[in-house]
Symmetry: C2
Subunit: 363 residues, 2 copies
């Protein structure tokens, strides 16, 4: 295995609150800090799959201030100063602006891999190959590289990336960075089907690779307000909490996709196929978990009677599931969710209801 | 209101373990001791609806020995000596043989109303009218009287009573005790439909009225072994626990319907219509509970999102029900049931499984 490059860094974005995993995820413990597959938490897996590519001391986590301790506990290998705590949620553009500023100060030659903390990837070897192809492309001056996922079905829950298929030749791993034609928002089902039929569309995974200097100058170009907000942080080695607070306070609330990638000119995508899933809801947790012969994914003390294709997290109780099919049951110390597998997207409505009805203690 | 007759007694049979109400009902607290409608427990309701007809000191509860304390706690109005504790379960015939023996010693002129402890009756006034008609018929020498329920649908969960419709005239309340033609076991659906079409069949409610001397001589005639087992108890005023134990130990395990009513000759039934339900499973609890505008019957902290026709007992948790319909959710301190409304009859299988797999602590 080749040595990790000293100038290669990873930025793990772990600021999400993940209301769709209520009641297992909470304000106090969102999705990325959960172990929903029985094999470690999602943020641990995210760091783990960089092994051999990026040294732990070159990995940075950007999370909400309130999750810094949780992050340290779950990732003890990370130096404490590598955990950046956001004072407020401002979507991904400010998060990336901050990380880029810090990495550029550390190493003006820095290349950053940007990864969400809450995705699942089955084929880590292939994933690293895709990252290497992206890293190579990112060395070309001005290149912003994103990772696209070869779609397996007309999903309406993801954004899409349209790319030029014909122009470049694949590398030794059969991979290629292709110029991006356009980004598309989450489509309706007819549009998604049309996308798939063309063969020109990939799922937008929210994973990026670029040089710190490149993204900083693209921010300057397309989001000068954001560049200005973080200028004090770029200009000093001793960043105070107050400076971070002011930077975020004056930042727009916008995603890097919308604020930078769409207007930028030299954007590439590496189409990848490495068993990716963004584990967006309980249904995905069911799909990705091991099942017994009746299609049930069970955790804890569960008794099934005429029950198929269910996901049950029993928590501290004995749970009996009788005559139920395609149901999600999640038991936690103070709250219980019973949800049909086709309705998992509505779980966030429950959290909204709790928050607006004096039941925040349960969120 | 007329005075209760001094020779009129009630025997409340409360020995059942009610596995179909798991996890709310337990070995330690079966159905008759539960409050599933928010208006007192079922045994309290059973005693309560005798008010004005039978004096409390003339009411006897026969229950399992282990539930004597629970019975005393729930029915403080009952003299302690009126609670008979069965040393083992032997179905209803031995239970009735014991109660009849005790009542006959107390009052050779005794008439007994025999009632299960776990039924629901909506119209108590009508119920008492039906009992009065039955009591009158029971004074005729040798008469065994049962209460039949006018069926509202071809139920396959009940036994049926076929009766002669034409012979007798109704009393002032429009009620009549009719000679019974035959008892029928729980039918299949085609048979049940045929029963209903004839107009000659009633549901067997398991409620009876007879004189103590009549039932004792019928036991002697049709179940001499049972009569012999309880002879020592009949012969003494100071019954010891050992005598009761021996009587039950040598008793057959048989219902009074099968052992006495079927072979007996002078059997009558009073057809009644007083909103009866034997509350046989969680589905019945749903049917009989108050519902909100979405058809949900909810107890405790419950949040519904796209949820209709559910029964939820939240217990100590906040329960969110999302995209679920026709589902029973019952949360108790150590166990949780999630069951489709059409599968409630299978809950007893869960209890059997728990008992045979070292999980008795949860039953």
């Amino acid at each position: 295995m080749e040595q990790p490059s000293k100038s290669l860094f990873a930025v793990i974005m772990a600021g999400g609150v993940g209301t769709r995993f209520w009641p297992h995820s909470r304000q106090a413990k969102p999705k990325q800090f959960l172990d929903v597959f029985g094999s470690g938490t999602m943020i641990q897996a995210t760091l783990g799959r960089l092994a051999g590519l990026v040294a732990p001391e070159n990995c940075i986590v950007v999370t909400n201030e309130q999750y810094k301790t949780l992050t340290q506990l779950q990732l003890p290998v990370l130096p404490m100063e590598n955990i950046l705590g956001e004072p407020m949620s401002r979507n991904t553009a400010p998060c990336i602006a901050w990380a880029a500023a810090e990495l550029y100060k550390k190493d003006p030659n820095a290349t950053m891999i940007v990864l969400p903390a809450d995705h699942l990837i089955a084929n880590v070897r292939r994933f690293q190959q895709v990252l290497r192809t992206a890293i190579t492309q990112a060395q070309e001056p001005g290149s912003l590289v994103t990772i696209g996922i070869e779609p397996t079905h007309p999903e309406i829950g993801y954004g899409y990336i349209q790319f030029h298929t014909e122009t470049y030749e694949a590398d030794e791993d059969g991979l290629v960075a292709c110029p991006v034609k356009a980004f598309a928002e989450k489509p309706d089902i007819e549009t998604a089907e049309r996308f798939l039929a063309t063969g020109e569309f990939l799922w937008n995974s929210g994973m990026f690779v670029w040089r710190a200097d490149t993204i900083l100058s693209e921010i300057q170009k397309h989001m000068p307000d954001l560049a200005e907000a973080f200028q004090p942080i770029r200009d000093t080695q001793s960043v105070s909490n107050e400076m971070v607070f002011q930077a975020f306070k004056s930042s727009p609330k916008i995603s890097v996709d919308y604020g930078i990638m769409e207007p930028a000119e030299k954007v590439f995508v590496v189409p990848g196929n490495f068993g990716w899933n963004d584990v967006g809801d309980w249904r995905a947790v069911y799909d990705l978990n091991d099942k017994d012969q009746h299609g049930n994914a069970l955790r804890g003390k569960v008794v099934c009677e005429d029950a198929t294709r269910n996901l049950v997290f029993a928590g501290d109780k004995l749970v009996a599931v009788v005559g139920m099919h395609d149901t999600i049951v999640v038991n936690t110390p103070d709250a219980l969710l019973v949800c049909h597998k086709e309705a998992t997207q509505k779980v966030k409505n429950v959290v909204e209801f709790l928050n607006s009805n004096g039941l925040e203690a349960h969120t």
